[in-house]
């Protein structure tokens, strides 16, 4: 009898201690945080992630999932994971123009509890844009990104400031036989074309969508002028016909091989043209986009930023990881090693960064003139409509005014339908 009881006691003791040890181990197990990033950014931040995991050993384990490089493919992956209901990721890097859509779909957690107002104020003016929707902060930028005009310092003494100057200087260089083409940009029917157009449109004094209202300005005279200017670049031979199939990589490739004196691209291109194997290394300057006299030049706001997903079970830990990856220290590393433009205002005056990079002041200037793409959950639709009509203008399929009128009507219809069901 007693031996039986002793056995039972022993087993009970064993089981209890086993359960205790397991739960202890479970409590001590580091919190898992998984962030989805495009492959190139995942690679650039790998060192910082390792550092974060060392500092938080046994407490937080940050894992980065490498997504596709292509922005649209990245969006497809993120969206299909979100549609599952329970996403395997705690946070995502999202492109600036996805924010209203993601926030409206109810996929994101507001970051307000973790980010103080003074931190928002510490960002450069351009980097403060595009992070909020409906008065909540949903996104924290990893880098600043905006459209830039690249120019060849060995061919031109100072960059063109107006659309007219741009055409003139291009044609002069072409006539002198110094370059086959003057200016190259992204004319393919995709999101990049909307970015290009927004800069030209603002440069002519127009507006795509007046913020806070549903007033569409695509059939305005400024808008028709802007689209006409882009079309005439191709007709006059300042831009190659192939530009209507160019996205960023093709544009960069052509500029690198000396096909053109001017290029519209994002800051990442700077790192590429300054590489040792680049034939135009040291012969390139950057500035902001041209604008008609009396109007200010504009840079379309791009950039990737972190958002925490509503389904995440560890939002605090995710916020801590994001805070580290976007800290002043991290931004310095990312700028020095991968030329990711910083977002903190103070870094643009940092002597170490200034001594390493000659274009930092130009970037700071461009960042003061950034313009957001329309902030609406149906942005993808209205951008698609615009791209479609612009592409038909650029390929001479559609008449200029008719096509822009159609873009106007279609955009109004989309906004109206979105408003009705709200």
């Amino acid at each position: 009898m007693t031996s039986k009881r002793a056995w039972a006691l022993a087993i009970l003791l064993l089981l209890t201690s086993f359960a205790l040890v397991t739960s202890w181990a479970l409590i001590l197990r580091p919190i898992q945080v998984n962030i989805l990033m495009p492959a190139s950014i995942a690679k650039s931040t790998a060192g910082l992630v390792r550092q974060f995991n060392n500092d938080h050993h046994g407490y937080i384990n940050l894992q980065v999932t490498q997504g596709p490089q292509d922005t649209e493919a990245m969006s497809d992956l993120a969206i299909s994971s979100l549609l599952l209901g329970k996403s395997p990721y705690d946070a995502l890097l999202i492109d600036v123009h996805w924010l209203p859509k993601y926030a409206r779909a109810g996929w994101l957690t507001p970051l307000d509890p973790w980010i103080e107002q003074q931190e928002i104020d510490s960002l450069a003016p351009g980097a403060q844009l595009g992070n909020s929707y409906d008065d909540h902060l949903y996104r924290w930028p990893l880098m600043a990104d905006m459209g830039l005009l690249y120019w060849r310092t060995d061919l031109i003494s100072k960059p063109p400031r107006t659309p007219e100057e741009l055409v003139k200087v291009s044609q002069r260089l072409q006539q002198e036989g110094k370059v086959p083409y003057g200016y190259i940009w992204q004319g393919r029917q995709y999101e990049g074309l909307s970015c290009v157009f927004l800069e030209v449109l603002d440069g002519f004094g127009g507006q795509w969508l007046t913020p806070g209202t549903d007033a569409v300005g695509l059939d305005s005279s400024a808008s028709v002028k802007a689209a006409g200017w882009l079309r005439d670049l191709i007709i006059s031979g300042v831009s190659p016909e192939a530009v209507v199939n160019y996205s960023e990589p093709e544009t960069l490739q052509a500029f690198k091989s000396g096909d053109a004196a001017l290029m519209r691209n994002w800051p990442y291109a700077w790192g590429e043209v300054q590489k040792d194997n680049s034939p135009i290394k040291g012969k390139v300057g950057v500035t902001t986009m041209v604008a008609a006299p009396g109007h200010t030049s504009t840079a379309t706001l791009g950039s990737w930023g972190f958002s925490i997903l509503k389904g995440s079970s560890n939002p605090e830990a995710a916020a801590e990881a994001i805070a580290f990856l976007t800290s002043t220290y991290a931004q310095k590393q990312l700028f020095l090693n991968y030329s990711y433009t910083p977002t903190k205002a103070t870094l643009f005056k940092d002597p170490e960064l200034l001594s390493k990079s000659q274009i930092l002041p130009d970037l700071a200037k461009a960042l003061q003139h950034t313009e957001q793409r329309p902030q609406t959950p149906v942005y993808a639709q209205i951008s698609d409509v615009l791209q479609r009509q612009l592409s038909s203008i650029l390929t001479s399929q559609g008449e200029l005014k008719t096509a822009m009128d159609r873009a106007q009507v279609n955009t109004e219809q989309i906004l109206l339908a979105a408003g009705e069901t709200r």
Partner: protein, 294 residues
Amino acid sequence: MIQLLLLPAALLIALIFGIPLLRYLWLSFHADSVITSLVAIPNNGANWFRLFNDQRFWQDTYQTARFAFVSVSLEIFLALGIALLLDQRWRGRGVVRAITLLPWALPTTVMALGWRWIFNTPNGPIEQFAKLIGLQHLYGLQDLNILANPSLTWLATVVGDVWKTTPFVALILLAGLQTIPNDLYEAFDLEGGKPCAGLFKITLPLLQPYLLLGLLFRLAQAFGVFDLIQVMTGGGPASSTESLALYAYLNAMRFLDFGYSATVMIASFLLLVFICLFGWLVIHQTKHFREVVK
């Protein structure tokens, strides 16, 4: 009793085909988009009303049909030649038969990227060749710009599709050719028939069911074309190559408008059913025709 044995298969079909189809049909009568916070709200057929007035849907229908009919006709024509050749006895036939299947074995994305490079301006081989023979001067152009010219680009996608799927049709036709007994040809020969006439009097009539089978398979596939277009042109330039499947995909994944995306899908499914029904009727006719020949 036999019907009972078919039950598992029927259940499987209902599970992987019937349920999603019904769900899509249901969805096509609801507003389910980012605006409704991804909640499905009945909207009394507003999606269908929108579809009938959607110029873009009709343009895409035309573009998809154009792509499907031109590429499938070319494929059948070329595949017939290849199948006839591969059916003859000659040295090395086995190796050539295997090689012929290679394009079919390649993933579409990979081969579409390849074609995008081939048609690239100004560095692609086609453009270089056109320059060599001065083709572009015919049109007074500097470059042909195949992938940037809305009236040419769809032909480039047809070329890609024909290259990839002709082997598939050739395989079906080759199988068909092997079912034709040799004694028919021998008898025809004894009666003094010319080999060329044999093609039209024996081969083609007996091959008809296989031709129609290939046609049906390929039409269904070509009508739902997505990956080739997505990789090669992304639907551009000026949306001149956008297919119905691409439009449905844009609505779902880019615009987060699942209600309308489902409507586009169901509409293109109905169109496809209509086309296949037509094909089936023709096959039915030929079966009868074949009996008469026998």
